[in-house]
Amino acid sequence: MTLLELAQAVLLLAGCFFYAIGTLGLFRFPDTLTRIHALTKVDNLGLGLIVLGLLPFAAHLAAAAKLLLIWLLALAASATAAHLVALAVRQQQEGNPHDD
């Protein structure tokens, strides 16, 4: 029991660590496209680890399935969002860079 709790704590803290890395990426990477890399990949890993750490808390099967559903949804959403934002950046680079 304590071993499980320890594993959970480790998973949760690892998730936190990756979220911190994702935010660090937002600061350290030089341009927008590389920032998208950092945000998408690292944050999803962080969310995955946190969901994994929370799974044993789930009272029954459906609650656990809901956690996994949220994770899958967030994955699909961030992949699509990353693609769209990257496309927008590319279009602005090619066309008129009217942004300040």
């Binding site: 660090l24 809901k66 496309l87 590319r90």
Partner: protein
Amino acid sequence: MLRFLAVLLVWWILTDGEASALAFGVGVAVLVMLVSAVLFPRSGYRLVWYRVPGFLWFFVVQSAVAGLDVARRLLAPSLPIAPGLRALTVHLPEGAPRWLLANVLSLLPGTLSVRLQDNQLLMHCLDTGMPLEAQVRQAERRVAALFGVDTGVAL
């Protein structure tokens, strides 16, 4: 029928497995199935169901590798990245397989799909020195196997 079961499963998840809501859920699932059959008719591509777990496993492992890869680069003081754009030809057929590949590639190590026009995929790479071509081809093979389609090229 599979659609009906999938919708019912989602209903079951959303209601936290509440048994009393299940009867209502069956009705809702039938309605959703009918509406979705009208809105999204069969595209001609069918998932090979027994390959879904293998694909998910591949995807989860690879996206974890991707996160670790970016984290490693970020924590190194010298920031070892060499970003650049790379264009590739996709051998997958038009429609769902191609979109799935583009979306999956965004979460794989080092690649981010920027634009998909006909069969030309423009990608942004975090490190242009990585063996990206092989990686993309591997993901492409996986997607092709998932849909049970032939890419028409000996990969």
